[in-house]
């Protein structure tokens, strides 16, 4: 797939000489810069954490957690690619972990939503500040 698309993208973006803006992007795609990914992942993480801390709705909190997980995934992928570029062609552990995390996140989402439904049935709310059961 990528073998079909890559030349097209390269042509379109004139990747040989990265003089244009598109060329730079292409160049970046071909030889990604690790720090940029890390920054993006950190931003995602922070957004997720902020979501978790500030939102009342459990569903939204869930979504924020997904963001945090995906930030981690992004880091895994980025490091995996970085290591491959650095001359370790078998460094696929990060990618494998990412798949695991996606699976586990899916399972966790299923369970969590089930809990949310049960919770809603019992207490008719899914706002976390109404569910202060940890306080005696």
């Amino acid at each position: 797939m990528s073998q079909l698309i890559t030349p097209v993208l390269a042509l379109l973006l004139q990747a040989e000489q990265p003089t244009t803006r598109g060329g730079v992007i292409w160049q970046g795609i071909q030889h990604p810069d690790l720090s940029k990914f890390l920054v993006i992942a950190a931003l995602l993480f922070i957004i997720g954490v902020a979501g978790v801390l500030t939102r009342r709705n459990i569903i939204v909190i869930f979504m924020s957690i997904e963001l945090i997980l995906n930030a981690a995934n992004l880091n895994f992928i980025a490091f995996s690619r970085y290591l491959q570029d650095a001359g370790y062609p078998n460094a696929v552990a990060g990618q494998v972990f990412t798949v695991f995390i996606i699976v586990v996140a899916a399972a966790e989402a299923a369970i969590g939503l089930g809990i949310v439904i049960a919770l809603y049935r019992n207490r008719e709310t899914i706002f976390v500040d109404k569910i202060d059961l940890l306080k005696w």
């Binding site: 954490v49 939102r55 976390v128 202060d132 059961l133 005696w136």
Partner: protein
């Protein structure tokens, strides 16, 4: 025979137990209660008769039969190896003294004195019964007269709510009395002694909701305690001296002791003194007689049974039982005789002026008991017991007659409001006449035989000098007796019908329950607490008479109905005859009071000695009495003593040969009235007849005076009362003895109690309170330290934790998940900062 003896006390006890424990719970009918009570007593009477007949016909007759011979006994108080050694010295001395006394020739006793071996006795008190001539007489009296009184009581107590209680007490009394007279040792007698005291207390206070009944019962109990104190000491002394309490052993050992003449006061005198104090209490002698007149607050059958026929004669029983000990002490014999004679006269003079029919009879009882003690004191124990028996007959008869009168008069006891009852109560009247003639001592009624012989023996006593004074006192007392008894009969049965003149309710010192009180309301007596009817002062106006149908005077047999259908208010009561259950016992007792004395027919009528063999009570009882001359018991001494006695003493007095006791037991006693008379008549029989005629004459004089005063010329009593005002007042107020005792004893006891209370309140409580106050002060100080320092620390810590820390820490626990997550994130940030601080700083610097 043993089983009979055991049954005699147990039967009434069983009846009492059934009545007392079940009667209330199961609401026994009066008929059932009466049947149980009378039935058990009747069975006991049958057992008593059977036992006595068997005993009389047994070959071992005069020997006391103790049930432990046949194994019918058990060790009641196991003394174990306790050694009673106190008496050893006494016993040793006894041996020495007796031998010296033998040497001076005063006594002709055999020289070998069997001093009890100076062993340390093992004291085991057994519970067994003893049948001997004395206890035989007593069980017959107690069960026989008791049966009559029980039957009477079923009628008299009819309608009383405490019926079961009454008969339970009465049965318990019968048990105690029978244990008293049947017991084979001193402690068993003490058990019965206290038992009858208790029952007397319970029965005097039977109408316990009336104050005077409660007071009287306590008075009786406390007065008896004084006597029992002496009795208990005497029992201790007996055990300490003889090492045993069994009568047979004690009497055998006591026989060997030396005789203590007037002036010496040895162990025998002390024992006798203690016993006599007990007898004074129980038998109402001076100075402890005061309880008996007050005891009339009990129901009349109780007065008849306990305070006339049986219990008050327990003292006589005891003195006779221990006559060996008494006869060892000339002093005590004199004291017994003097106390008896004085009591006889004293009580008789009080009886003259009393107006309450039962009070008169009570003082009469005290007086007659005095006669009995006089008999014992002059050595005629047998005659004393004879008088106990005849007195039981005629005094029970008179008490029951009085009860019948009270019943017929509707609880009127004041003789001033009686009179003319002969017409209304003929049966009561005629039976009462028998008792009257008997107590006055008219030939041939029972009282004559015993009282005459007492006076004669008092005149002829050689136990001490001065018998003629005792005889004189006794004769005066007998005259008084005849006088006040005639007065009683005259005021009650003859003369005007004074009950028609006084329009008021009865004073009713004692009265059994009326069904209803004036307003037609159920009276207390119908309620749980059996009570008396309301009381009124004599002459008090208590409202209009009103008709109120009531039926409580119907007899159980239904043969005699209430003759006064009318008003039971406090208008005039029409007297009525008592029912069959009441007059039949009266008739039985009247027969006994008439002919009962014939069992003791005297030597004057037979020529020589008491005729009739064992059937004569004097011969029957003789084996019980110890003879100080021959130092042996009973009949054998009578014969032996007569032979051994010299015809003339040193003074040349002719000694009468018909009684063993005629030989002076304590040496010559000087002037002797009987002997003087005998010498002037030249014949002993003539002298006896002289005394007999004299006693009949004084009785007739007394009766004639009574007739003159109260029938012939009813104005005379008031005139003479005015003329002899101080004497009259003294007698009427019972010589102020109660007041004197109140002043000397009761008030002083109260003062002592107040003093002790003051000491208790001030000193003991003061000490206790002072210690308490001190403790409180110190505890205040330590309390302050505790409160401010120790508690301050503890509370400070607690406040710090609760008030400050908890507020902070609790604020963190919001319960919101987001907060916890925030903390986690912050922690994470901090952790990252700490761990990566150098790298971060390097990156920042290095840019």
């Amino acid at each position: 025979m043993s089983i009979l003896l055991w049954l005699i006390p147990l039967l009434p006890l069983a009846g009492a137990a059934v009545n007392g424990l079940l009667g209330r719970k199961f609401r026994f009918s009066e008929r059932l209660i009466g049947t149980i009570a009378c039935g058990t007593v009747a069975l006991a009477f049958v057992c008593a008769v059977a036992a006595v007949v068997k005993y009389a016909n047994s070959p071992t007759w005069p020997t006391p039969y103790v049930t432990s011979q046949d194994g019918w006994s058990f060790t009641w108080i196991a003394g174990g190896a306790t050694e009673i050694t106190e008496g050893q010295k006494e016993r040793a001395q006894a041996g020495n003294t007796t031998s010296t006394r033998n040497s001076d020739g005063t006594l002709t006793a055999s020289s070998t004195v069997k001093v009890a071996s100076a062993r340390g006795s093992v004291l085991n008190i057994e519970w067994s019964y003893q049948l001997d001539p004395l206890s035989a007489i007593f069980i017959l009296i107690v069960t026989g007269v008791g049966l009559c009184i029980f039957v009477f009581a079923t009628g008299y107590m009819h309608g009383d709510a405490g019926y079961y209680r009454f008969f339970a007490y009465m049965g318990l009394f019968m048990f105690s009395m029978l244990v008293l007279v049947l017991g084979s040792n001193f402690l068993l007698m003490f058990v019965g002694w206290e038992g009858v005291g208790l029952c007397s207390y319970l029965l005097i206070g039977y109408y316990f909701d009336r104050k005077e009944a409660g007071d009287a019962s306590r008075k009786a109990f406390i007065t008896n305690r004084i006597g029992d104190f002496g009795f208990a000491l005497a029992v201790f002394a007996v055990i300490a001296t003889f090492g045993t309490a069994q009568y047979t052993d004690v009497m055998r050992q006591a026989s060997a002791y030396p005789i203590e003449m007037l002036g010496t006061f040895g162990i025998m005198s002390w024992i006798a003194l203690g016993l006599f104090i007990g007898a004074c209490g129980k038998s109402a002698q001076i100075p402890l007689y005061v309880w008996l007149p007050d005891a009339m607050a009990g129901p009349t059958p109780v007065s008849a049974l306990i305070h006339a026929a049986t219990m008050v004669t327990a003292g006589l029983y005891m003195v006779t039982r221990t006559n060996v000990i008494f006869q060892h002490s000339q002093t005590m014999m004199l004291i017994v005789a003097v106390v008896g004679a004085l009591t006889a006269l004293f009580a008789a003079t009080i009886g003259i002026t009393q107006n309450d029919i039962k009070k008169v009879l009570a003082y009469s009882t005290v007086s007659q008991l005095g006669f009995m003690f006089l008999a014992c004191g002059v050595g005629a124990f047998v005659i004393g017991i004879f008088h106990v028996m005849t007195h039981a007959f005629f005094k029970a008869l008179m008490f029951l007659g009085a009860g019948s009168v009270i019943h017929g008069m509707h609880h009127e006891q004041d003789m001033r409001r009686m009179g003319g009852l002969k017409r209304y109560m003929p049966k009561t009247f005629w039976t009462f006449i028998a008792g009257w003639l008997a107590i006055c001592g008219i030939f041939p009624f029972s009282g004559f035989w015993s009282k005459d012989e007492i006076l004669w023996r008092a005149a002829g006593t050689n136990y001490f000098s001065g018998g003629w004074m005792l005889w004189l006192i006794g004769t005066i007392a007998a005259t008084c007796t005849a006088f006040y008894m005639t007065r009683l009969v005259a005021m009650t049965f003859w003369g005007r019908e004074r009950f028609r003149e006084v329009p008021a309710g009865g004073e009713a010192d004692e009265a059994h329950a009326h069904g209803y009180d004036e307003m037609g309301l159920p009276h207390d007596a119908q309620l749980e607490s059996a009570g008396d009817r309301p009381r009124h002062e004599p002459g008090e106006y208590v409202g209009e008479p009103h008709a109120l149908p009531h039926d409580h005077h119907e007899t159980r047999g239904g043969d005699v109905t209430d003759t006064h259908a009318a008003p039971h208010g406090h208008a005039i009561h029409e007297p009525h005859e008592s029912p069959a259950s009441m007059w039949i016992p009266l008739a039985v007792l009247a027969v006994l009071a008439t002919i009962g004395g014939l069992v003791g027919i005297g030597p004057a009528f037979s020529g020589d000695g008491h005729p009739g063999g064992k059937l004569n009570i004097v011969n029957w009882l003789a084996p019980v009495v110890w003879n100080p001359v021959t130092k042996g018991f009973g009949t054998e001494n009578e014969a032996g003593g007569a032979q051994a006695r010299p015809a003339t003493t040193e003074n040349g007095h002719v000694t009468a040969p018909h009684e063993a006791s005629e030989a002076a037991p304590y040496g010559d006693t000087g002037y002797n009235l009987a002997h003087t008379v005998e010498r002037s008549f030249g014949s002993e029989r003539a002298a006896e007849w002289f005394f007999i005629l004299l006693s009949i004459v004084v009785a007739l004089v007394g009766m004639g005076l009574g007739y003159l005063f109260y029938v012939k010329n009813p104005r005379l009593p008031d005139a003479w009362a005015a003329r002899l005002r101080p004497l009259y007042r003294a007698s009427y107020h019972k010589y102020w003895i109660d007041e004197l005792y109140g002043l000397l004893v009761t008030r002083r006891t109260m003062d002592a109690a107040v003093g002790v209370y003051t000491v208790d309140a001030k000193v003991i409580d003061g000490a206790v309170n002072g210690v308490a106050a001190l403790t409180r002060r110190t505890s205040n100080a330590t309390g302050l330290f505790d409160r401010y320092v120790v508690d301050g620390i503890v509370n400070g810590i607690a406040y710090f934790i609760r008030g400050i820390m908890s507020r902070v820490l609790r604020a963190a626990q919001t319960g919101l998940t987001a907060n916890y997550a925030l903390v986690m994130v912050l922690g994470l940030v901090v952790a990252v900062l700490i761990i990566f601080y150098p790298d971060i700083m390097a990156a920042v610097r290095g840019g």
